[in-house]
Assembly symmetry: C2
Homo-oligomer: 109 residues x 2
DNA sequence: CGTGTAAGGAATTCTGACACG
DNA sequence: CGTGTAAGGAATTCTGACACG
């Protein structure tokens, strides 16, 4: 994925009505999941919510879990755990890159 | 660019107000460029226009040309020319792939 | 030709609240 | 807990048209 593609995925430009169509969730449900801290839309100047494609995917993930009877508090916990794991993975990757760089610095001087 | 990224770029989900903010063009201008066949938004069930990121980029391109004094009819011509060139390039690429495939079919049988 | 604007109507979005369970 | 709904207001979007140039 290039940097430009990431910017598409994370750019908050979709209104709640479209998100509702895209996810099959009601507008009420989407607002409620925000209240429960599961999702963070951006607000436009005039206060309307704007979502990204990443948000839409996250909401579809939430919808699946809710269908399985998972409560929002539980979903929140799981998501935090996964974010933590992701950060940890990124950290490990950075460490590895550091070692590799050090290795080449050593070899090339 | 993966297939998924393409789907983000080309998915028509942005309302005209947001497109206006993103491009700096007035809503009136955006509608006018559609009238002149420079842009093709999708219509939602209730008739509102929906744009993709690709459309937004195309509009920014149009805006630049308009600033240089290029008329919409001229812009339309240029765009058609470029599309034609692109198709031609894709065609050449397909031909080449065909030759490569034929080559390997020959070698491997 | 390209763009602004007022007009009138329809649909969207927002918040806080009551309802049900 | 999770979701529907009616309420009232504000902002959006749509079309066809007149204006200016």
């Amino acid at each position: 994925m290039t940097q430009e593609d990431v910017s598409y995925k994370d750019k908050k430009v979709i209104s709640i009505g479209i998100v509702s169509e895209l996810t099959g969730l009601s507008v009420r449900q989407i607002r409620y999941y925000e209240e429960r801290k599961l999702i963070y839309p951006q607000r436009s100047t005039r206060g309307t919510r704007k979502y990204s494609f990443a948000d839409v995917e996250r909401l579809m993930d939430i919808a699946n879990k809710r269908e399985d009877g998972v409560q929002t508090a539980e979903i929140l916990k799981d998501m935090k755990k996964k974010e933590q794991a992701l950060k940890s993975g990124q950290f490990k990757k950075k460490m590895l890159e550091g070692q590799i760089n050090a290795h080449f610095r050593y070899k090339n001087r």
